[in-house]
Structure formats: structure tokens, C-alpha cells
Symmetry: C2
Subunit: 212 residues, 2 copies
Amino acid sequence: MSQLDTVNRILDAAEVLFAERGFTETSLRTITSTAGVNLAAVNYHFGSKKELIQAVFERFLTPFTENLDRELNRRESQAQLQLEDLLQSLYRVALAGLAREGRDPKRFMRLLGLAYTQSQGHLRRFIVSRYGASYRRFAGQLSDALPQVDPVTFYWRLYFMLGATIFSLSSFDAIEAILREDFGAESSLDETLARLAPAAVAMLTAPDVGAG
Amino acid sequence: MSQLDTVNRILDAAEVLFAERGFTETSLRTITSTAGVNLAAVNYHFGSKKELIQAVFERFLTPFTENLDRELNRRESQAQLQLEDLLQSLYRVALAGLAREGRDPKRFMRLLGLAYTQSQGHLRRFIVSRYGASYRRFAGQLSDALPQVDPVTFYWRLYFMLGATIFSLSSFDAIEAILREDFGAESSLDETLARLAPAAVAMLTAPDVGAG
DNA sequence: CATCAATTAAAACGTTTGTTTAAGAGCTGA
DNA sequence: TCAGCTCTTAAACAAACGTTTTAATTGATG
């Protein structure tokens, strides 16, 4: 087993277990025994548990933001500012790009949800410093497509949209199971994104009552 | 110090610390030293850490659902099915009711977010079994106010709405700090709810493209 | 084949965790 | 006043945690 094997086996196991249980609830012993490697391998290859967590996110977020940036470049050169298209860029191009590389987009959203809600200060700092530029660029193009919306209102709605997206997609399997039981209706991720995009657009473009 | 004092001091400390750090990241020793009581008091009065977590939620959710049920009763007797009013019931009556009883609605939303995202199976079961009826009743009235929306679409949008609400309100302080820095605009919870309600309405009533 | 660095392995480290125990204190009612 | 119950206290428990150490093993290079 080469070094690269060991590192990837650890990342694979950690990614699945973190998404299932959270960071604190997943011990290094569970990760290493699932991966079939020695306990000390984590500290040897990654340094610490914190750095392993960051590495798991790096493996997800780097291709994701690369896909997103490519799409934002394409859009910028064409000066298109269609709102629904922009969300489709986020939802389809970036997520489908992940899927094409063999990474589960649902697991990605689940991890992203954890990054927001589990109070891991180091992780938030890591993500902001590493991927904050792409996020601000996307938010900027989104804001440009909504010139009629007051900036403060826009940013609140951006967080509403993020919440709706991260929350529902990170709990996708649970919600899907409930709907399947109650309505016998199977839902795919693509189908859910096709529901989410127009709902998000409606929320972003709602008449601004100008609270405050 | 009476027994009731000890119990309440523990609940007060646990509520704040859980909301700040999460369940696993908060030790019983931190809770009891913050509360100024003996370590063993938690196991004596509550039985275990899990039951303490449930007790914290019970103290929040019981008055919240009571307020909500009262409002739903009032609406049912009047046969009003105005969508925006219904959300205002949830947002203002229930949350403002909490505030009137001295309980911080922001902390409540933060805890509710944790309940969804931190994988505490026992807590989810506790909440569903105890407060599921009120939730289904609210969802039912909301569904009745949207007769034109396909049931499966409705339920997905319900989760989108829950996500937007829980996510943005549970991170209220963090978001507010960012907006204050970037725009110098202070945001109150009431103001944010006044932004959230119409955004949620717009999302729920968006044209149903009928995905699937 | 011998050498040397990189990697793996097993074991132990010191902390921290939730929980339990056993003794003490404080109050109540007879 | 004293028995009896409730509650608090201090101490200890075993288990689990992340990390470190030291030795064995591997694989490439001279």
C-alpha cells in the first residue's frame, strides 16, 4: 500500500463518517479502523485531527470552486446576467461537476452544512481564507442581476437562499425518505434542484417591502 | 439554594453553552461550574446528559408550541387562510411570545438548528414525539392556504422555508455583524422577520414548474 | 547486497469525558 | 430533639479521546 493509498483511504473514510456523525462525534480510531490503516497514520500524514478536517474540505471545495469559477468566467465574458441561469450555474455546473468526479454532491452539502453549524472556528477561517474570493464573486454577480433590490435586503435574502439550499440538500436523504413514505414519490437530486432554483429566484426577486 | 434553583441554574447555563458550542463540545463540568453547582447535580436531577439536553429543549419548545397552538386555534375558528398572516403567526406570535417570557428567540433558533444538524438521534425522536402534532398542524394549515401547489412541491418548499428560517436566524448575530461592518446597517430580529416573511411567501407561492 | 530515508506498527502518554459512589449537610414533621 | 428524607459534596471510576514515542518494516538508491 503506497503512501497515496493511505492518505486517500483516510480521506475517504473521514469524509463519509464526518458527514454521517459530525466532527466531534467521529474519533480518529473509528476513521483509521474504517480505512484499515494504523491510528498514528492520521497524525503522521495530516498533523492533527483539525488538519484532517480541513483536508477533507479541501478535496471537496477545490474542484467545486474551480467548476464555479470557470462558469463565472464564461458568464462574465458573455455579460449575461440572467438570474435563474446563474443559480443553475451554481446548482448544476458546480454540483454536477462534483458528481462527474465521483464525489457525492449530497455528502458535499451535508459537510458544508456541518461547516456552518458545528462551531469549528479553524474550519470557518480555513474556508473563508481559501474560497472566500469565489463566494464573493458569485454573490457579486448575483447582486448585479438584482439591481432593483436594496443591498441589505439582498444580503439577507442571500443567506435565506443559502439556508434553504444547505439545509434541504444536506438533509436530502431524510426528507426524501419522508416524502417517499407519505406520497410514494421518489425524488432525485436533479429534480430537487429543479424545484429549488425557481423557489430561490422567487425569494430573491420578491417585492422589497423595505423593512427598517 | 433550593432544589428548583439548582435545576434552573443548570438549565440556564446549559442553554447558553449548548447554543454557543453545541452539545458534544460542552462538558458537564463546564455547565456545572458555570451554574455554580456540583458536578453530580446533573446526573442527580436529570439522570444523564442526554436527558439534560432534552430538558433544555422542553423548556423552550413547550411554551413555543403552546403559543403556536393558541394562534392556530384562533385562526381555525375564524377560518382565515391568509398565507402571510400564517407566517406572521409563526414568526411573531410564537417567537415574540418566547421573548415575552424572557427566553431569547435567537438562542431558541440556534438550538433548533443544532437539533436538526447535530446528529442526536434521541433528541430528534424526543422532539418529534412531543411536538410533532403541532408541527403537522401548522404544516396542514399552511398547505390548505396553498391549494394550487402540488403536495410534493409544497413539502419541499416547506423544508426550503424551514432551512431559510432556521439557518439565517440561528446565525443571526454572525450575519448581523457582517452586514453592520459592510453597510453600517443595524438589523433587529423583528426587522429580519419582516424581511423573511414575504421572502418565504414568495418562495411558497412561486409558479410550480412541476419538476419530475 | 548494504544503506538510508520514508512509512507503518504497536504501545503508551496524559487529559478529559460522563457517571457513580459514599459520606455529609440541611430541612421537615412527629 | 431526633429520625428520615432530600439534596449537596468530594472523590473516584472506567472508558475514550488526540497525540506522541519508539521500534519494525518497507522500498528505492548507491
